[in-house]
């Protein structure tokens, strides 16, 4: 625009330009937003709707029942499953974090065989969950499982052990979950370690800081945002895990490993009580939502830095 030429005042033109830019942004994003709405939002809306009704797979919504399904969440089965789920996340997550971070710190140093070790540690993460679960199921079987046969042959035990008995099933599956999730922590923390400025580490060397001091006072504080984000993502994943437990134990024996995700599956597909399944799902939605909030907040803080 030529200065002094006739036309709208400068502020108005700028505002109009900004409005046009915004409209263009909305237009570009619209298809994606519609897709997201269809894929993510619609099922959540349906889930909320179903949680207030008696719903079967065959007949859909049979009757609106108000808060009945939510009242039924006080059922001992649901509370027990929720308790188990919290133990499942509460134990597996911190152990995987500590173990994974320690391994990552170890693998960050130039130790012999580092490449091989990194590959081996990442292996459990590479297998699809279902194959991984089948592999463990076969390994732990009391008769033909590798674990028992090795122990028997080594003379460590006289009779085979039932690793998935009513008393040992939950600790066993938690152990397997730790083994499965540790590589993710290792990968995330290793990525975080790469971002620590080399000069900082060199300066600490010059200042005579010991290995422990470097880890405790430099690396760990700088890794805090990465570890926090990893913890939030991992806990959300762990909360909703279904296939590992379903294939390994189907929630048994005597519900010893029946997590909330398995109970939801049972309500929906075995007992054909979709309303109750939806109400129970809302607990998971809530928990994952809270974790999501913390994750976004942490990410925003990190960005602000």
């Amino acid at each position: 625009v030529t200065p002094g030429a006739a036309g709208p005042p400068r502020g108005v033109a700028a505002r109009s330009g900004r409005l046009q830019d915004r409209l263009a942004v909305v237009a570009y994003l619209a298809p994606t937003l519609v897709l997201i709405a269809l894929i993510y939002v619609a099922p959540i809306v349906d889930n909320v709707r179903f949680s207030f009704a008696r719903v079967t797979l065959l007949r859909g919504v049979v009757q609106w029942t108000g808060f009945d399904n939510y009242e039924r969440l006080a059922d001992p089965d649901v509370l027990a499953a929720l308790g188990r789920t919290l133990v499942w996340v509460g134990v597996s997550l911190p152990v995987a974090l500590v173990f994974g971070t320690a391994l990552a710190l170890l693998l960050d140093d130039r130790i012999p065989g580092r490449a091989v070790l990194r590959t081996l540690i990442i292996l459990p993460w590479v297998f699809p969950e279902a194959i991984f679960a089948v592999m463990w199921r076969l390994t732990l079987h009391p008769l033909w499982g590798l674990a028992n046969n090795l122990l028997l042959q080594a003379g460590a035990i006289q009779e085979s052990i039932n690793f998935l008995s009513v008393d040992s099933a939950l600790p066993t599956v938690i152990g397997i979950r730790i083994w499965r999730s540790t590589p993710f922590v290792v990968l995330s923390v290793l990525a975080g370690l790469q971002s620590i400025p080399e000069e900082l580490m060199q300066a600490s060397h010059v200042d005579g800081a010991s290995l422990w001091q470097r880890i405790w006072h430099i690396k760990l504080p700088l890794l805090k945002p990465v570890v926090w984000a990893t913890a939030v993502i991992l806990s959300a994943w762990t909360l909703v895990i279904f296939d590992l437990i379903f294939i390994l134990t189907e929630g048994g024996p005597d519900r010893a490993t029946e997590l909330l995700s398995l109970l939801i599956y049972k309500y929906a597909f075995v007992r054909q009580d979709l309303g109750m399944a939806s109400a129970a799902s809302m607990i998971l939605v809530g928990l994952v939502g809270i974790l999501g909030y913390f994750y976004v907040r942490a990410a925003s803080r990190e960005e602000a830095r």
Binding site: N162, D254, F269
Partner: protein
């Protein structure tokens, strides 16, 4: 800088116009041609009906058994094409309600007996009464049409029938000095312990992984303990207060605790026991003809290693369990007449024989049962078991829930987490049965 628009010479403009006109004409001709061609193809498609067919199970076996049968059908009915749907039983159980509700079920499929009532009561299957001819009525063994009747309508044609017998290893029996199969519960336990003591091999294989298989095995002990079928049609639930109901569980627990049964029963399901029996790692197990594909070699010859016997009797008499899977046509099919044609073809005696042979099921048709290939001693035991057997499947729309909660409670008893009385009370409470 703006590039001045070059003006094309008139001849060039004319050429371009002509080209554009030609292109337009070509498009028009193409569109009309494609439309006509499409209409022709549609007409062809309309004249040929495509049916979807599903026999749950291993697809290699499905293809081996049914490809020739279906090829013959297509030859006889040139206007009908049949597409196979590949689905294992596990997937079938999970997906069936979704397929039914979304109208995507195959036009003809084998349905597991419990599903007949569960989905039949919801009018999900076509009533077949108007199609069934007298020949078919005469072919089927008595009671099999009734077994597939829901709300007064026949909704399935029996095609895969099973019953529990006791499968045992003759070699282990011989080593243990046992000369005949056990006749009673008490003998069953003492035989199991004797085999273990004399051979070192657990005499009896029991399974306690929850699922329909465990419900079947409890049904056998219930039938022989109570002397009545598991499902009480008058009460419209399982009579858990019948004295034999708890006794059946108590006896199962006694077996599990005895040295004659393999340890860690909660880690075994019925298929796992089959391989143990085949490999001589257990002496006896309860199963239907579904085991046959696993132990085929051990059943062959004049002196087979594995043999079948009637299930031992309990305080309520000797009563096996029976399971009848049937061909059904989902109510939403667009081609009911053609689907029936296919179904009728599948149950012709020769085709039924191929089905029974392929899967080792008991022939539901008397003419088929008389064929030479079904005269092996174990087949005779299986057919005899049908005569004293009761259905193990519960006739309720809550079939899925019963088969979830019943085995769970049976397992609780077998792994020592509940007494038989507690488990039955809990089951009644969970199901809302009085």
């Amino acid at each position: 800088m703006r590039i001045p628009r070059q003006t094309a010479p008139p001849s060039s403009r004319r050429r371009r116009r002509r080209l554009a006109a030609l292109a337009g004409l070509a498009l028009l001709v193409g569109a009309v041609g494609a439309g006509l061609l499409g209409a022709g193809l549609d007409a062809d498609a309309q004249s040929a009906v495509t049916l979807k067919f599903m026999r749950p199970g291993r697809f290699d076996v499905v293809e081996r058994v049914f490809r020739p049968i279906v090829a013959e059908f297509e030859k006889e009915n040139p206007g009908i094409k049949v597409e196979f749907v590949d689905m294992g039983w596990d997937e079938y159980f999970k997906r069936l309600p979704i397929m039914l509700s979304s109208g995507t079920t195959p036009d003809v499929m084998l349905n597991q007996q419990g599903g007949i009532y569960q989905y039949g009561a919801e009018n999900q299957f076509l009533a077949l009464d108007r199609f069934i001819d007298d020949d078919l009525r005469k072919q089927l063994a008595p009671g099999l049409l009734e077994a597939n009747t829901v709300n007064g309508h026949v909704v399935g044609i029996a095609s895969s029938v099973g019953a529990y017998v006791l499968w045992y290893r003759a070699d282990l029996f011989q080593k243990a000095g046992l000369t005949r199969p056990p006749e009673s519960w008490q003998e069953l336990q003492s035989y199991a312990e004797t085999i273990k003591a004399k051979t070192g091999v657990p005499g009896l294989g029991l399974h306690a992984k929850p699922g329909v298989d465990l419900a079947d095995t409890y049904a056998y002990f219930y039938h022989t303990g109570v002397g009545r079928p598991l499902w009480d049609a008058k009460l419209n639930h399982i009579d858990l207060k019948a004295p034999g109901a708890a006794e059946a569980l108590r006896f199962m627990k006694r077996l599990v605790d005895s040295p004659g049964v393999q340890p860690h029963v909660d880690q075994y399901d019925r298929p796992a026991l089959r391989s143990l029996l085949r490999d001589g790692k257990i002496g006896m197990m309860f199963d239907g003809p579904w085991i046959l594909n696993v132990i085929k070699e051990q059943l062959s010859g004049a002196n087979p290693v594995i043999r079948a016997a009637q299930v031992p009797a309990g305080p309520g008499g000797r009563h096996s369990i029976t399971v009848v899977d049937a061909w059904v046509i989902p109510a939403h099919t667009k081609h009911p007449a053609e689907a029936w044609k296919l179904l009728r073809h599948l149950v012709r005696p020769a085709n039924q024989a191929a089905h029974d042979n392929g899967y080792g099921s008991i022939p539901p048709q008397e003419a088929v049962a008389r064929m030479p290939e079904f005269q092996a001693p174990y087949f005779k035991e299986l057919v005899a078991a049908l005569k004293h057997g009761y259905s193990s499947r519960v006739s309720t729309p809550r079939y899925g829930e019963v088969n979830d909660r019943l085995p769970e409670n049976v397992q609780r008893v077998l792994i020592g987490r509940a007494t038989p009385e507690q488990a039955l009370q809990d089951l009644a409470k969970q199901m809302g049965w009085k």
